[in-house]
Subunit: 186 residues, 2 copies
DNA sequence: GCAAGGACTTTGAGCGTTCAACTATTCCCG
DNA sequence: CGGGAATAGTTGAACGCTCAAAGTCCTTGC
């Protein structure tokens, strides 16, 4: 990735040339990424793309579902009664209501999930993981866990894993907070 | 089951997917993630999902293109003559040839890219970034860089950024190596 | 030379996601 | 109580991606 500095003739992409001088936009100053940060960011993009593609392929071949559906099954499997209100399930899995609705529809067709209407709030619906769905999850879990271990945790030290978790939790919390109260400055 | 793609029902069932502890099964060992590893992994999933969704939304609204298209433009902008052979561009951006072909077609429609046929290898094609495409990239860059900085690098220390880069490079290299020579252990 | 196999690229179908409506119900406040 | 606003969930179209299959051209061995 690379394209280390000054390859050939052209401008290496560190932002437009004019930005060297004029760093202002409508809302203030543009602080480009430093070379080190760029390298990190490109590693981020490459690693996550490769990783998710690999996990997706693995899970699709062995279990026939995408990773996001797997996450839905996991969330349900951990809930009391294996049943969660749609809204809460959307929050847990960080999906949009729309995505969740489509996904649940799809999983309902395979018989792994069931929609249950809510007695106290007639707008509402629950998603319930069926025994068949739970069995499917049990069958899919070892392969998926093995893949995650193989591509991530077997490659880094426990200390690095800890640090990775801490870093990603910070990033996650930042985005989560922003999602909940939009318009609040850092 | 609606004939999903790789729908291999009735997979081998490799032992109970119970247990947070490590255990063995008949035909091989499944090493589950430790509680700490699970927490890290869930942070990974949540952070990357939120982050990419946010960047996608930002870039889509401000520039009208997905992040992956942006990466293609960046790669081209750094190349001599702003021109790269399709195969090499696919490697650089870690896309499948198919994805790249679709993407280039799309970007060609907007006039940001141009396909140029190769004289010495008539199977081949180059992708060339037009002036219009370069201008579009210049216009999109500040917003994108700002978003990346805001959600990632402004939230972590430089030391953490370094460590993050090192960790992700290891993961990336592992997957890269595996992609090139499948079947090689570790 | 020539055939067989490999490399480069494109195409079309199917799937999951997003986005923008839309329906239905509940909440809130005067 | 009544009516507007908020909440829960669904739907359909558009779009990007994957996969399989194909077309086109190059290369290698004989």
């Amino acid at each position: 990735m690379a394209a280390r500095r000054g390859s050939t003739k052209d401008k290496r992409y560190e932002g437009p040339a004019r930005a060297e001088k004029n760093e202002k936009t409508a809302d203030g100053e543009v602080r480009w990424l430093s070379p080190a940060e760029q390298e990190t960011w490109r590693a981020f993009l490459a690693a996550t793309r490769l990783l998710f593609e690999e996990l997706e392929r693995q899970l699709q071949q062995e279990a026939g579902i995408p990773v996001t559906y797997y996450e839905i099954l996991v969330a349900l499997s951990e809930a009391p009664d294996r049943t969660i209100r749609m809204r809460d399930l959307a929050d847990l899995t960080r999906s949009s209501p729309s995505r969740l609705s489509h996904a649940v529809s799809r999983l309902e067709e395979t018989g792994w999930l069931k929609r249950v209407s809510c007695a106290t709030d007639r707008r509402g619906a629950f998603a319930h993981l069926t025994d068949k769905g739970f069995a499917a999850l049990e069958a899919a879990a070892p392969g998926h866990a093995t893949a995650v271990r193989r591509h991530v945790f077997d490659r880094i030290t426990p200390k690095q894993a800890d640090e990775l978790g801490r870093i990603l939790a910070v990033i996650r919390d930042g985005l989560d907070a922003e999602g909940r109260c939009p318009g609040v400055p850092t």
